[in-house]
């Protein structure tokens, strides 16, 4: 057993280390990491950074600055309000930029001073404070107590009735769409790694030296395993960085089921990669040169593309019969099943059956693909047809 496993592992390690060290992989990883970190941090800063305001208040009752702050807090803004001696002092602070705005309470109806133009979020807060001041003045003229005034201004707060309550799936929709895109990109990306890896070994003729030492199946298995570990590792690092960045920037309220959804995406990545990488490897062996490889793999790439665009239809209406079928059919299951799980409640038997079918399909494919690989990998000069490769295998 050890002697059987060890060449596979040696081959996998080489795939893993040489690719991880390659400049292309490092650059791609760095760009992805930067994209994720910035994609989370920039919107978070944009939302939290400018939500702090400083307002100077001139005139009015002594409690007015506190009332302005309270009004701001009610609108979700952090408003620091401090009194100024008179209008001139307040205006000066706005001019110098020490304050975002000045609120001059008297004479009625009051005045708002801005440096350039009104700040869209702050303006309603200050207007509301002036409204309240005016209301208090009118109430005093009418002889109302402050409690009566509060009663008068209290909001209505109506009852809400939902006739057909549905859980809010908007968050799941986002996660499912992102997950699907990631799966599609990853299957293509790592699949093409296997494809080019096989063709490179074939075109540099190193494959004959390799096959004098290890069996074709071990060579293909090691390659698929090494690139697979690299892919899952890269995915895990990106996901971990995303999680940490989110936690630091703004802890999100994850919708229920997010973790199981992520687990589903990972599971289907592993299964989908197992399926497609073996196919890519077998098709790569049919080609002799890198240019031919893309042609050899074109049917597979085209099929994945078709499945991917079809999946966007599934996002709109996941209950259609053909989407159920596609989520069980091994070649399309890796893209459709996680999507369905996110958008609808998939019966457990369907998930189980899809996984089982997939595992059986991979088992069959390893044999079929392994045979094609074996039959084709030593053949040089032009592109082989699948039938020739099948017959060439022994």
């Amino acid at each position: 057993m050890r002697q059987h496993l060890s060449p596979v592992w040696t081959i996998a390690r080489r795939e893993l280390t040489t690719r991880a060290r390659s400049k292309a992989f490092r650059i791609a990883s760095a760009v992805l990491l930067a994209g994720i970190v910035l994609g989370i941090l920039v919107p978070a800063w944009a939302m939290s950074g400018t939500a702090r305001f400083t307002v100077v208040v001139a005139g009015g009752p002594a409690g007015l600055p506190a009332a302005v702050s309270a009004e701001g807090a009610a609108a979700g803004l952090a408003v620091t309000a401090r009194p100024a001696g008179d209008r001139a002092a307040a205006v000066r602070q706005v001019e110098t930029g020490a304050a975002d705005a000045a609120l001059v309470a008297a004479p009625a109806p009051g005045e708002l001073v801005w440096r350039t133009t009104e700040e869209a979020r702050l303006a309603p807060v200050l207007t509301a404070a002036l409204d309240r001041l005016a209301a208090a003045r009118h109430a005093e003229e009418l002889g109302l107590t402050p409690a009566e005034l509060d009663g008068l201004l209290a909001p209505a707060d109506p009852r809400v009735t939902r006739l057909d309550p549905q859980p809010d799936r908007s968050a799941q929709l986002v996660i499912a769409t992102v997950g699907m895109i990631l799966l599609f990109v990853a299957l293509n990306f790592y699949g093409s790694y296997v494809l080019t890896g096989v063709v490179e070994e074939k075109s540099s003729r190193v494959v004959e030296v390799l096959l004098a030492r290890v069996r074709p199946a071990d060579l293909l298995a090691g390659k698929v395993l090494g690139i697979g570990i690299l892919g899952i590792g890269q995915f895990a690092v990106l996901a971990a960085v995303a999680a940490v960045t989110l936690q630091v920037a703004r802890p999100p309220r994850l919708p229920g089921g997010t973790v199981s959804l992520i687990a589903a995406v990972v599971l289907w990545f592993v299964l989908g990669y197992g399926f497609y990488s073996v196919l890519y490897g077998a098709l790569g062996a049919l080609a002799s040169r890198a240019e031919d490889a893309q042609v050899a793999a074109a049917p597979l790439t085209g099929f994945l593309m078709l499945a991917y665009f079809g999946a966007f239809t599934a996002v709109a209406d996941p209950a259609r019969w053909w989407i159920t079928a596609a989520s069980m059919f091994p070649p399309t299951a890796p893209i459709y099943m996680p999507l369905r799980s996110a958008l609808t409640d998939v019966p457990a038997w369907q998930t189980g059956a899809a996984v089982l079918l997939m595992i059986v399909a991979i088992g069959v494919l390893v044999r079929v693909g392994g045979r094609l690989y074996r039959g084709a990998v030593l053949h040089t000069g032009g592109r082989l047809r699948i039938r020739q490769a099948w017959r060439g295998a022994v």
Partner: protein
């Protein structure tokens, strides 16, 4: 047809090995043996089946019929772990450093990490790759040095059977000398060596045994000396002290060649010719300074064997 040098239990044996690709018979009942401590040259015109034969031995091609045995047991994947192979189409990872590459192939042959490192250092030294080249990527090396890396890869796991397909192709005289020396040393250490070549003078110089193939068949196999002895064709080199009488050799039975009026002449003696008759005729034609009976060269034997 088989050469029987060395004890039977030590031999590499091909017995009736056949392989067809569609209607093309690449190997047709190939039978011969190779013994340790002897260099075996595999000869044959292009398309004779040499590469297919080697690929069968290495397990890259499954023969349709026949058996391969080494030291009396069938050649299995397990046995092949002790074989080393250098293919005709040289293949290395172009962007992998030399030392890493040699270690990698050692690991694939089942060596432990430390044994692979040790063996890789020893073998790169042996094939004449300086330590300054160890960290260089293969694509940065000259053709000759890439060939040395290829040889190092074939030898790194200290194989007991070494098979090389056209190892001398494209090497300069210095490279030929180094490689020849390495192969000679390996043979002396007890390795069984089989290599194909089109350079017949080189094979004659290096090898003790030859196997000649033509159209998938082994047409001539055995120790070079025995084959030369066995062939009834001979050369006769005669040197006279002065010009001999013209036409002295033309009437002799079984003798061809000339021009017989030169002071130095090489005659070919067919199977039915008698050297003693020639010697008598030569002595009558003039003062003989030298009279030598030579076996045919490998090239002549080769031409005769493949009927070309």
């Amino acid at each position: 047809m088989a050469a029987a040098v060395g004890e039977v239990g030590t031999l590499l044996e091909f017995a009736g090995v056949s392989k067809s690709y569609g209607s093309v018979r690449a190997l047709d009942g190939c039978t011969f043996t190779a013994a340790p401590k002897r260099l075996v040259g595999l000869l044959g015109p292009n398309g004779a089946g040499k590469t297919t034969l080697m690929r069968c031995l290495l397990g890259l091609v499954e023969p349709d019929a026949g058996t391969l045995r080494w030291r009396g047991s069938p050649v299995t994947d397990e046995v092949r772990r002790r074989f080393g192979y250098m293919p005709e189409e040289r293949g290395l990872y172009p962007s992998m450093p030399v030392d890493e590459q040699v270690r990698y192939f050692a690991r694939l042959s089942g060596l432990s990490r430390s044994a692979a490192a040790r063996s890789a250092r020893a073998v790169t030294d042996r094939v004449g790759l300086g330590p300054e080249l160890a960290g260089r990527r293969v694509e940065q090396l000259s053709h000759g040095n890439q060939q040395r890396v290829q040889l190092a890869v074939a030898l790194v796991h200290e194989p007991e059977v070494v098979v090389l397909d056209e190892p001398f192709a494209g090497l300069d005289p210095l490279g030929v000398q180094t490689l020849g020396g390495v192969l000679r040393d390996l043979a002396d250490e007890g390795t069984t060596l089989l290599f194909s070549s089109h350079q017949l003078d080189l094979v004659q110089h290096l090898c003790q045994d030859v196997v000649t193939m033509d159209r998938g068949r082994v047409v001539l196999a055995g120790p070079l000396e025995e084959l030369q002895q066995a062939t009834r064709r001979r050369h006769i080199d005669v040197t006279f002290g002065r010009r001999p009488a013209p036409g002295w050799s033309t009437a002799l039975p079984g003798v061809a060649g000339g021009p017989a009026a030169e002071r130095r002449v090489r005659l070919t003696l067919a199977a039915d010719g008698d050297p003693a008759t020639v010697l008598r005729a030569a002595l009558a034609a003039g003062p003989v300074l030298r009279f030598a009976l030579e076996p045919p060269s490998l090239e002549e034997m080769f031409r005769e064997a493949v009927h070309r």
